[in-house]
Subunit: 333 residues, 2 copies
DNA sequence: CTGAAAGCGCTTACAG
DNA sequence: CTGAAAGCGCTTACAG
């Protein structure tokens, strides 16, 4: 590998001069600049990023830590999140280091990563790494509802509760006093947030959300998201008096549409359908197109990145931002 | 930031000793080890990855370069690819640096990235970076058909031509001598590969693939993938005598299914449908479920990572591997 | 406009 | 088992 030293020697100048030619941090005469550049090209010299980082104590890299279960791939949400982070970072000249290495509790293994800041996905409660980042002064932004103990930590999250509330309110006002809610798996915080938002909407109308109209996705019972939607309708339609169904994702709604078609139910006349997220960005591609919440995991990621980059400028700042996902009305309701 | 020096001083040992305690590269007495670890913990010391990388000339990071168009997000394919790369790398203790910074033709800006090797997505022809990587001796693996000039470069790709050939052969043998091919955009190499594979299948049966039965996706003419499928059927059914349709992706097939439903065409009896890729992993969630090629972008990514990690061990190696995607038969044909 | 030298925080022969 | 010192390839005051 050719180094700055090699170039300096051949060009008959000092390392500092070569450095300046590349960094442009101090003016170098045109003549010398050209000579250095020519030699550099001849030698195939490119500045060493690592050495530079050590010297200036900056890497221009943002770390993105995410749990990667060994078998499962990334979810649509995670993926869009990443996309948002990457876009925003590259816009500001930063790169993204994907870090899904298994967590090592062995302190010996934890190193100060080559990053200027970190975005953490789905932090577990009492995650030991959060404390470590604080300790080392590494700027940190969480995506998702943070541990309650860390009030002083920056994070972004969706307004899940409010969204469910809004959807509930809309349906109630348009006369759908009885509905079916195909929620996410019960152990997800987002499922809880949504149920409580929906419950609130009912309460405000002097009604109550019947527990047997709220289902939860379960890996054991459903082969895939679409089937979850399909089966749920097939098994309950006629038995429960709902006129609208709220689904966890667009995929679930795909199954609901299928069941409706099979049962000859016109959508939205006989059955209104609203998806609480649009993971696979199918909402526009179904027939009829789907009213859905555009969760914009991507916006969430971009927002997290923006906040992180701000914090990196001024580490005393703490930003806690709720990203308003928006309900987009389409043909299904 | 506390450094190895701080720890050494307080523990009353040399930097080398502290280093050894953490790296375990040479034996340190139990007593000293404990003392150092205690001090390190007290001080919140974690080894600096950048400094370490400079010293050992390794970063344990793999670079993943991909073109990121400014507005568009990552495609399903890219995403699955990334997922595959990340999984394989983390399995072997490597991290992944996502690099979607705009390409700078300015040599001044190109730096030796903090990576031990690079995976490059969708390399353009005559990509100047390929030459640079060669020049600097950075191990490189391409995903996608490489520039013909670089025969000595490692890469992975799908057997796109063969897949199309297989699909064509299957349809011809089951009596579908006339079909509609909703191919990808014409400027993509994959579109060319597929068309040539399909053409070959026809030729072998003594038939020829009529040009007007091959369509290409176009951003200008189609609002989205599903519509591309829908419109194409609506506009051509009855005019062209096809009994089967081959689509670029599962999304396109979604539109085809919709059109078929509208036209009252039974699938697969009146119309067989096969998707050449399953980007959004919808194939199982449609009705009827979709016969599709499981492109396994994820396998492609994992394979690329494996090869890269091998090459990094022995830079003289060159691996060129074709990942066989497989045709999965479901209800739509 | 340019050079000499110290420094960034580690690792690693070499010596003991 | 441990230390002193050189080295990894840059950057950056300081001096001129």
């Amino acid at each position: 590998m050719t180094t700055i030293q090699d170039v300096a020697k051949l060009a008959g100048v000092s390392k500092g001069t070569v450095s300046s030619v590349f960094s442009k941090k101090r003016p170098i005469s045109k003549e010398v600049t050209e000579r250095v550049l020519t030699i550099a090209k001849e030698l195939g010299y490119y500045p060493n990023h690592v050495a530079r980082s050590l010297a200036i104590k900056k890497t221009m890299i943002v770390g993105l830590r995410m749990p990667l279960s060994k078998d499962s791939s990334m979810s649509g949400f995670e993926i869009q999140m990443i996309s948002g982070v990457v876009k925003e970072c590259s816009k500001q000249g930063y790169r993204v280091l994907l870090d899904s290495l298994p967590e090592l509790d062995d302190v010996t293994q934890f190193s100060m990563d080559p990053v200027d800041g970190v975005i953490m996905l789905n932090p577990r409660k009492h995650d030991s790494r959060i404390a470590r980042y604080k300790q080392t002064g590494t700027p940190l932004v969480l995506v998702g509802r943070p541990d309650l103990l860390h009030e002083e930590i920056s994070y972004v999250d969706n307004n899940n509760k409010e969204l469910a509330y809004e959807v509930g309110q809309y349906l109630l006002e348009t006369g759908h006093t009885s509905l079916l809610f195909l929620n996410a798996a019960s152990d997800m915080t987002v499922a809880q947030d949504r149920e409580s938002g929906l419950t609130e909407a009912f309460r405000q109308k002097g009604l109550s959300l019947s527990p047997d109209t709220v289902m939860n996705y379960s890996r054991q019972h459903h082969t895939n998201a679409s089937d979850y939607g399909y089966e749920s309708i097939i098994h309950t339609y006629g038995k429960l008096p709902y006129t609208a169904v709220i689904t966890d994702t667009d995929r679930v709604a795909l199954g609901v549409l299928r069941a409706a078609r099979e049962l000859g139910l016109d959508i939205p006349d006989k059955l209104a359908v609203i998806a609480l997220s649009n993971d696979a960005t199918l909402a526009q591609e179904t027939t009829p197109s789907l009213t859905s919440v555009e969760l914009s995991a991507e916006v969430l990621g971009a927002e997290a990145a923006k906040i992180l980059l701000e914090i990196m400028q001024d580490p005393t700042k703490v930003h806690q931002r709720i990203v308003d996902a928006k309900l987009v009305f389409r043909e299904s309701c």
